[in-house]
Symmetry: C2
Subunit: 200 residues, 2 copies
Amino acid sequence: MSLQHAQPISRLIQELSRLPGIGEKTASRLALHILRSSRENAESLSRAILEVKEKIRLCSRCFNLADQDLCRICQDAKRNQEMVCVVSGPEDLMALERSGGYQGLYHVLHGVLSPLEGIGPQDLRLEELLSRLRGGKIQEVILATNPSVEGEATAQYVSQVIKPLGVRVTRIARGVPMGGDLQYIDQVTLTKSLENRGPI
Amino acid sequence: MSLQHAQPISRLIQELSRLPGIGEKTASRLALHILRSSRENAESLSRAILEVKEKIRLCSRCFNLADQDLCRICQDAKRNQEMVCVVSGPEDLMALERSGGYQGLYHVLHGVLSPLEGIGPQDLRLEELLSRLRGGKIQEVILATNPSVEGEATAQYVSQVIKPLGVRVTRIARGVPMGGDLQYIDQVTLTKSLENRGPI
């Protein structure tokens, strides 16, 4: 950052630039916005940042982000208590919630298997998932890890570990995305979408 | 925002979404990043936000952002004291500083003339610019407002007000941007670049 800025501005630009996907130009724009916004708005952003660090912990049942012992979803008696959707991280849980297409519970692994990064089964919240399943209430586990090499391998592994428990295990469908254009879609996706074709 | 998030997360996502160009998805990603980063990093971001509101004021000479009576640029004796570049806001000043192509002083108008938005000459830091010029030290004023309708009108107006003072007034060149592709550049820009052609 240029030394020509007043120090508090340089510092804020530098702090904002650390956020993922925020370059120096965007950081400058955000810093000027904060500078121009009301003192109240700046204070409430500043407070929200601290609060998230102070108050957020992991749900003791599903390991979703929570501000109490159980997360909002686990507390919600209206959710289907017999289905568990396994995701690798809270961002994927958020994406599924935004879709509005799922009404069951979750289990957040907090990672995927990755031999290259030294992440093995013991680093995921797998033992805890098995305990939940041994409880006997859950009828179906939906594996919703990413359709990437690691995500697929993790889904494979989890399904093998779960099967002996006699719980139904499914995997989210892989195929052509809505609004996609067949000519630009990769071969593996196309092959999957043909293999997994269904009646219309 | 979904009510299924723990409240401190929803609040942070909401606060971050207020920033310009940050939608809910980006805000969620940033919030998770903050949640995962060290407590120290979160505190220093939070502090930088407050500090900018507390410590930043306008330079008493050029109205750039400053943390003292004079901004860093006005304090810098190595800058050319005989040139003043007039910009509409601090973001344009920052962009020019990033370019590294200018070594003189600035004057920040904090706006452009806009009859539609009811912004007239009295709303800009124009009287203060005239006072600086009457000081007699400045030899050239470069008008660096945006090449937009308002920017051009503002440059026209400022040049007319300055001319009686006998100071040289110039306007930044308008033409084809470096790396641009002639076939995609608008007609007005092309016409300007022909009119303002120069020897190579």
